[in-house]
């Protein structure tokens, strides 16, 4: 299912991984969902193909034989304004944070299922297609967020947020579905003092969850990415989790 907003041809995905078997399932997985695919096995090839074909999305493995993923990302980000999803490994939280702050739109930890990657891909492609302007009203579960009108409702009933709480929700809503690192959020909320204790952000998030989440102890909209940051889930991401089944 291609993104409805993509008025032109199906989005083009550049898959960069040195393992042919990984590229193979990614190719089939993306093509079955209506994407077009180009492949690259090395960093050099990836940069060449990116220049020639101008993909909408780059799926970038970090373990390339000829360069590390961070340097490929840096070179890409010099001119490339499409989306980038990084394929990462466990126990590399600091690497993930660094990559997100260097311009990766999201990451997926290996091993991963195709549905997980597709959900992330749709989220980051929507941003590219709409060129940064978010949807007028974001909806996920019972939550609706009207960024232009600054109105937040739960099941249609308005919710009153403090200015900082709204700013946090707005920052996550502007990048709906994407993970934002602690530092990215701190910069957004305390631009004059982004190196302030992350603790302020955590407490702010706790208060926001208390107001918006059906069960603040088990948040479904505003989720934590451990040691990395926060994410406001999209409806599709919400549907992918098994959470709904165990909710009271």
């Amino acid at each position: 299912m291609a993104d409805e907003r993509a008025s032109t041809a199906a989005p083009l995905v550049l898959v960069v991984d040195d393992e042919p078997q990984i590229r193979r399932f990614l190719k089939t997985g993306f093509e079955l969902q209506g994407f077009r695919i180009v492949e690259a096995g090395t960093a050099r090839e990836a940069l060449e193909v990116a220049v020639m074909r101008k993909p909408d999305l780059v799926v970038l493995d970090l373990g390339l034989p000829d360069a590390d993923g961070a340097s490929v990302l840096e070179q890409l980000r010099g001119w490339f304004d499409g989306a980038v999803i990084v394929l990462s490994v466990r126990n590399a939280e600091t690497d993930k944070v660094a990559l997100l702050e260097k311009g990766a739109d999201d990451y997926v930890v290996k091993p991963f299922g195709m549905a997980e990657l597709l959900a992330r891909a749709r989220v980051v492609l929507r941003r590219v297609v709409s060129r940064g302007a978010p949807e007028p009203v974001l909806r996920v579960g019972a939550l609706a967020l009207d960024l232009a009108q600054r109105i937040v409702t739960l099941n249609g009933a308005p919710v009153t947020l403090s200015p900082k709480q709204f700013a946090l929700l707005r920052a996550l809503g502007m990048h709906h579905g994407k993970v934002l690192t602690h530092r990215q959020l701190m910069k957004e909320l305390w631009p004059q003092d982004p190196d302030e204790d992350v603790q302020y952000l955590r407490i702010l998030m706790k208060k926001l969850r208390d107001k918006l989440e059906p069960d603040p102890a088990r948040p479904v909209y505003l989720v934590t990415e451990l040691a990395i940051g926060y994410r406001l889930r999209t409806q599709e991401q919400l549907d992918l989790t098994g959470y709904a089944e165990v909710m009271p």
């Binding site: 393992e19 078997q21 990984i22 193979r24 399932f25 990614l26 089939t28 997985g29 079955l32 373990g63 490994v89 466990r90 126990n91 939280e93 600091t94 290996k110 091993p111 991963f112 299922g113 195709m114 549905a115 403090s162 200015p163 900082k164 709480q165 909320l189 204790d197 992350v198 603790q199 302020y200 955590r202 407490i203 702010l204 706790k206 208060k207 102890a217 088990r218 948040p219 989720v223 934590t224 990415e225 451990l226 040691a227 989790t241 098994g242 959470y243 089944e245 165990v246």
Partner: protein, 516 residues
């Protein structure tokens, strides 16, 4: 031992004979004086004294000389006075006694002197050894020790000494470039010498003559050629005897160096450190290889299975979709097992460095539940959170993995369909996370051994696969964050509660009012 008993060189100098003669002349004065009141036979006995003194001070030669001279002198006093032509029997007896005394005392004094020389040489060696030893003790690594040995060698021998060692690329070059001592062509000789390992027929010491650079004595330092060094000692163009002498000195210094190293146990410590460094390197390589070679195929299997399970063509084949999903789930499970093996390697290597953060424990539990879907656990998880619970200061990623292992374990042992309950609340000055299952519970022995590596309850050996690593890892991770973990059970059939106690964040509660 008094100072007048000085050690002698190889032979008494000419001065010793002159001094012996002086002593004899000195003895003539009291002899002449004594002649006024004693008979000559008695007075001439005084001439034995110079021989005695000379024997003690100057050795046997000057003593015999003094005895003979004494006999001649005493002859001068006999009638006719100032003539040596008349020899009386008493003169001959005097001479014989003088010679016997001179030779006996001279030999004794000589032995004494030799003994002294040995003692002083021993003292000097001990002092040198001590100096070398204490300098080596202060050195941090092998290169520094080689440097010290080289310096001692230079000081002892008074010759140019150049220390050679291999660089990173394995090429040999001088370490401390004493510019005037470094000779072109020497490095090549050194490299060739270093390549001839002792066990391949090479020697510890060798004499080489690089073209146009004189002769050099090469000495091997250290056993392992990669971490070894070679000392080059400049040899003068001298006789073979001089070379042999230097060789003896060089050997003794090398032995002293080796002895100091041995005495300090340093050489073994250094070897062990090198061994450890090598094994660390090997482990990292192995971990990288395992990580890549095992996990990449697993990632391919899981990815491919997930593509199949989502394929539109299979929409009407729910059983095939379920099979493909099962493949994906098992692949994920396999990946977690591999992760456990890697974690154990990390723990064993002491490479665990917690990154502590102040965080709400619910964030960690939720991350666990999100990552470890209930389908993977194959059972329901109920979460209860006490209203007022403190934040914790832990490494969230380590605690997450510990919890995953504990949930995995609970799911493995509890009967199918029985839920697992997670409860979160304050316990004294700590935060408690209880993971309770309805499984077979624990008996006393199991409770004690539960967290030991590779321990798996014998009662359950048939039902539960896995390596038994999970709980060991969980405990290590929790303890690395300053927490504790214990297994509580009412006994067999009563279920098991794993209680994790985590340190509370000192800042968490105080900033509750903060909201701009």
């Amino acid at each position: 031992m008094r100072d007048w008993l000085r050690p002698l060189g190889p032979g008494p100098a000419r001065g010793a004979y002159l001094k012996a003669a002086g002593l004899v002349l000195l003895a003539a004065i009291p002899t002449a004086a004594m002649l006024t009141f004693t008979p000559l036979e008695t007075a001439s006995a005084l001439f034995m004294l110079p021989g005695l003194v000379a024997a003690v001070r100057y050795g046997t030669g000057p003593a015999i000389f003094a005895a003979l001279l004494g006999a001649v002198m005493s002859a001068l006093f006999y009638d006719p006075v100032l003539s040596v032509l008349v020899v009386t029997p008493s003169q001959i007896i005097d001479l014989a006694i003088s010679l016997i005394v001179a030779i006996t005392i001279g030999r004794l004094a000589g032995q004494l002197r030799a003994e002294m020389v040995r003692v002083r040489e021993g003292e000097r060696r001990v002092r040198r050894l001590y100096e070398l030893g204490s300098e080596i003790a202060g050195a941090g690594d092998l290169p520094a020790i080689y440097d010290i040995v080289a310096r001692h060698m230079g000081e002892e021998l008074g010759r140019a000494v150049v220390l050679f060692a291999p660089n990173e690329a394995g090429a040999w070059g001088p370490v401390r470039a004493d510019a005037d001592a470094v000779v072109p062509g020497l490095a090549t000789e050194v490299e060739a010498f270093a390549a001839r390992a002792p066990h391949d027929g090479g020697t510890e010491i060798d004499l080489v003559a690089p073209p146009g650079a004189g002769r050099w004595l090469l000495c091997r330092l250290g056993a392992a050629s990669r971490h070894g060094a070679v000392l080059a000692v400049a040899m003068e163009d001298g006789a073979a005897g001089a070379t042999g002498e230097v060789l003896v000195q060089v050997r003794s210094i090398l032995e002293e160096g080796a002895r100091s190293l041995e005495r300090l146990g340093l050489s073994r410590a250094l070897e062990e450190r090198q061994l450890r460094r090598r094994s660390d390197l090997l482990r990292d390589m192995l971990m990288g290889a395992v990580s890549h070679d095992l996990r990449t195929p697993v990632a391919s299997i899981m990815g491919a299975a997930s593509v199949i399970s989502g394929a539109p063509a299979l929409a009407a084949e729910p059983e095939l979709v379920a099979l493909a999903e099962a493949i994906a789930l098992e692949a994920r499970r396999l990946d977690r097992r591999i992760q456990n093996l890697l974690d154990v390697t990390r723990i064993r290597a002491g490479a665990l460095q917690p990154r502590l953060e102040d965080i709400e424990a619910t964030d960690i539990v939720n991350a666990v539940l999100a990552g470890l879907s209930e389908r993977l656990l194959d059972r329901r998880v109920a979460l209860t959170v006490a209203d007022a619970h403190p934040w914790v200061r832990v490494d969230p990623v380590l605690i997450e993995q510990a919890l995953v292992n504990i949930l995995d374990n609970a799911a493995k042992y509890a009967p199918a369909g029985a839920p697992v309950a997670i409860a979160l609340g304050r316990s004294g000055d700590r935060l408690a996370i209880d993971v309770r299952d309805e499984g077979p519970g624990l008996d006393g022995g199991e409770q004690a051994h539960l967290f030991e590596r590779f321990y798996r309850g014998e009662r359950h050996a048939d039902i539960a696969g896995g390596s038994g690593l999970g709980l060991t890892i969980a405990r290590t991770f929790v303890e690395a964050c300053g927490g504790t973990i214990e297994a509580l059970s009412g006994g067999p059939g009563q279920g098991t509660t794993m209680r994790i106690l985590l340190p509370v964040s000192p800042a968490g509660a105080t900033r509750e009012d903060e909201d701009g």
